[in-house]
Symmetry: C2
C-alpha cells in the first residue's frame, strides 16, 4: 500500500469541486463529488432516531438503487428537524443536481451539515450546485476545494488517499471527512466520503463498510453526542480495470487493509480536530475476553469526562480510567490489570496486577504533557483487543459550545 497526496479525486474517473454559495457567510459551503461512470455504492448512517432529511433520502437510495453517480454536500445548514419541507428540499436538491449533471435524482446522494431547524435556502443551494458543476475537475486542487467546502467548525481539512496494486493494476482509494464538532446554534455531524476505482459489487461494498465502521468511526468520541446527520458514503466506479473484488479474490486482503486504513486515518483526523481538543488520546485494551469487550472498555474510557479532563490537566489519574472501565458494562477481571501511559517522552506503568504502583510523578507529568498520549490497559482474560481514539476536555470545548452566536 502506498500513501499518496490527495483525496476523492485520486480514484480514476472522479471529479470534484467546492464553492461558496452564501449558505454560510463568505466561506465555502457547497461541494460535489461526481463519477464519470455509474458507481456501486454503500452508506452508513447515524443511529439517532431523529434523522435529518438527507439521511432519510440516502438510506432510501441505499435500499433501492443499484448505482449512483454523484454526491452533493452542503455545509451551513443541516436540514434536520425541518419536517416535511426538509424532505422536499432534499429531493429537489438531488433533482436539480441530476438535471445539471445529466443523471436521475435517484443517482444523487445528498448530505447536509450545519444549523438544525432552519429550512434550506433552496435558491442558494441551486445556485451553488450550478456554480460548483462548472469547474468540476479531477485535479488535486479541486478535491481540496471540496474538502474545505464540507467543513463547519473544523480547523483543518481531512483528506487521506492510498493506492494498492491488484492484478498488476493500480487501485486507488481516497477520502475526505469533516469533524464531529458541534457548535452554536447546532452545527453537528461527522461526514466521510470515500471514492475508489476498484470494481466491487454493492452488497460486498456495504458489508465491507459495515465491518470497517466498527473499528474506526465507532471507536472515536469527541463528546459522546451522536448527531442527526452522521453519514459515511463510499462510491466505487470500477475504472481501475480489475476484475470484481470480493472475499474470494486472492488480493481481497490487500484492498480491505487499504480501505480500513483510509477510514482509520479519517476517523483519527476527526478527533484530532475535536472542538477545543488540545491532545490526541489513544486507549488500547488488550487481553480482554473478546474483541467486543475490549472495544467497549476502550470506548468507555475515551468517553469519560473525568478521564478527558484529567488528560487536559496532564494528571496520571489512573483511578478514573479503572472507574470508567468498571461502569462500561463489560466484564473483566480488574485484579489482573496492568496499566501504563506512553508518549514521545516515554512510558510509565502505574498499575500492576490491579495494584497501584508507586511511580515517579514528575516523569508521569512529563509524559502526559505531550500532545499525543497512548493509554495501554492489559488484561489477562483472553485475546480480545480494541483501540479507541479521543481528545481531552478543555475550557475551549466549554467556550465553543457555551457561547451563543458570538
Amino acid at each position: 500500500m502506498q500513501i499518496i497526496d490527495g483525496s476523492v479525486t485520486v480514484s480514476k474517473g472522479f471529479s470534484a469541486n467546492g464553492v461558496a454559495c452564501g449558505i454560510k457567510k463568505r466561506k465555502k459551503d457547497m461541494a460535489l463529488v461526481v463519477s464519470e461512470v455509474q458507481c456501486s455504492f454503500a452508506g452508513s448512517f447515524t443511529t439517532n432516531l431523529v434523522k435529518a432529511a438527507p439521511v432519510l433520502w440516502d438510506q432510501k437510495l441505499v435500499a433501492s438503487q443499484d448505482h449512483v453517480k454523484a454526491i452533493v454536500i452542503n455545509s451551513g445548514n443541516a436540514n434536520a428537524c425541518t419536517a416535511e419541507q426538509g424532505l422536499k428540499d432534499t429531493e429537489a436538491t438531488a433533482a436539480y443536481a441530476g438535471s445539471v449533471l445529466g443523471c436521475k435524482a435517484e443517482e444523487v446522494l445528498v448530505c447536509s451539515t450545519g444549523v438544525i431547524g432552519v429550512p434550506l435556502p433552496m435558491d442558494k443551494v441551486k445556485e451553488g450546485i450550478e456554480l460548483c458543476s462548472k469547474e468540476l475537475s479531477t485535479s488535486r486542487e479541486a478535491s481540496g476545494e471540496a474538502a474545505l467546502a464540507i467543513c463547519t467548525t473544523d480547523t483543518f481539512k481531512k483528506e487521506v488517499a492510498v493506492s494498492v496494486q491488484i492484478e498488476g493494476r493500480t487501485v486507488h482509494i481516497g477520502g475526505m471527512a469533516k469533524g464531529s464538532g458541534m457548535i452554536h446554534p447546532n452545527m453537528a455531524t461527522m461526514l466521510s466520503f470515500i471514492t475508489t476505482d476498484a470494481a466491487i459489487g454493492k452488497q460486498t461494498l456495504q458489508a465491507l463498510l459495515g465491518s470497517s465502521i466498527v473499528d474506526t468511526y465507532n471507536m472515536i468520541s469527541v463528546d459522546g453526542d451522536t448527531s442527526t446527520n452522521d453519514t459515511v458514503l463510499v462510491l466505487a466506479n470500477g475504472m481501475s480495470g480489475t476484475t470484481m473484488l470480493g472475499p474470494d479474490h486472492p488480493e481481497w486482503e490487500t484492498f480491505t487493509q487499504a480501505f480500513l486504513y483510509v477510514h482509520t486515518e479519517l476517523a483519527k483526523a476527526i478527533v484530532r480536530d475535536g472542538e477545543g481538543a488540545g491532545k490526541f488520546l489513544e486507549v488500547k485494551v488488550t487481553g480482554a475476553k473478546d474483541k467486543q469487550t475490549a472495544q467497549t472498555l476502550a470506548r468507555s474510557v475515551i468517553t469519560s469526562n473525568l478521564v478527558k479532563t484529567a488528560f487536559f490537566g496532564s494528571d496520571a489519574n489512573w483511578g478514573r480510567i479503572l472507574c470508567a472501565m468498571g461502569y462500561s458494562g463489560a466484564d473483566f477481571n480488574p485484579s489482573a490489570l496492568n496499566l501504563s501511559f506512553s508518549s514521545a517522552k516515554g512510558t510509565i506503568q502505574v498499575v500492576e496486577n490491579g495494584v497501584p504502583l508507586a511511580f515517579d510523578e514528575h516523569l508521569a507529568k512529563g509524559i502526559l504533557m505531550e500532545r499525543e498520549i497512548t493509554t495501554l490497559a492489559q488484561l489477562k482474560d483472553g485475546n480480545g483487543e480494541g483501540t479507541a481514539w479521543g481528545c481531552d476536555l478543555s475550557y475551549e470545548y466549554v467556550r465553543i459550545n457555551g457561547d451563543y452566536r458570538s
Copy 2:
C-alpha cells in the same frame, strides 16, 4: 407530611457525630451514625464492576445480616483499588467500631469516600472512631457535624428531614448525603444515609429503597461517571412505636411518599452542588409511551455535554435536546414533540408538533440566564412521565477536574 430541620438524628433513638482525625488536612473526615437499638436496614450500591472494599463489606451485610446498629463513614480516602489490604482494613474498621460501640463487627456498615488507590491510614481511622464515639449525640448539632464530615468537594452539607403521622404516632425520616463531585486525585462518590424510627421489615425496606432509587439518585447526573463507592443506606429502628409498616398497612402510602421525598430532595441537593455547577436543570418528559421511556429520554438530555454547555451559555439550543432524545435508544415520535423552557423569568415554547417555532430570542435568553431552569418535553405517545435533574457544564468543572493537586 411535615418538613423539619435536621437530618439523621431526627429519628428517635439515633445519635451521630463528626470529627477530624487527620485523614484529610484539618477538615472533618470521620462520622458515626448509631442507633440505640438494633435496626432493620437496606442498601443500594454502585453498579460499577470495580467496587471499593467498603461496598463489598456492606453488600455482604445486606445479604447475610438481619440487623445492624451503626454506620462508620470516613472521607478523604475511598479505600478503592486497594486490593486485599482494602478488604482487611474495612473489616478492621467495622470491628474496631463494634468494640467501641459495644456490638459485633457485622452490625457496623462502613463507607469511605476520597482518594482512590491509597491504603486507609488505620491508626487515624481508629483514633477517629474513638474520638467520634465520645461525643455521640441525638442533637441537631451532632447530625450537622456528621453531615459535614462525610463531605469531600461539596460546597454545602446536604440534609433533609420530615415527619408523618401514622397510627396517631409521629414517624420521622431524616437523611444526609454527599455529592457526586469528583476531584483530584480521585475524590468520588455519592453517599446517602437515611434513618427512620418507622417499624419496617428488612425485605420490605429493601424493596422500597429499590423503587425509590429509580426515581431519585438514578435520575441525576453531574458528569455521567459512576463511581466505585456510590452507596445509599437506610436504617429503620422501629422506635416510633407503630406496628410494622408494609404494603398492606393502611398508611403505607403516607410513609412511602415521605420516604421518596427525602431521597428526591437529597438527590436534587447533590446536583445543585455538582462540581462547577452554576445552574440547576430539571428535564421533564411527559406523554411518552411508558415511564421507562420517559426516564430514558430525560436522562439522555440531562447527561449530554452539548446540552449542558448550551445551558451554561444560556442558549435556547433546542436542537441539541432533540438530538440527545434521538440517540437515547428510547422510542418516541419526534414529529409530535412540544418543547418549552421555564424559569422564574417565564416560559417560552420553542417547538410545536416537531416543528421549530420562531421565538423571542431575548425572552429565551432571559429565561435561561436564571439559575434554575425546567425543560418540558411533551410527547403524544402515551402517559409515561419522567424527570431528571442535572447541572450545566462550566469552565469551573474543567478547572476542578483538570488541575492536579494544586
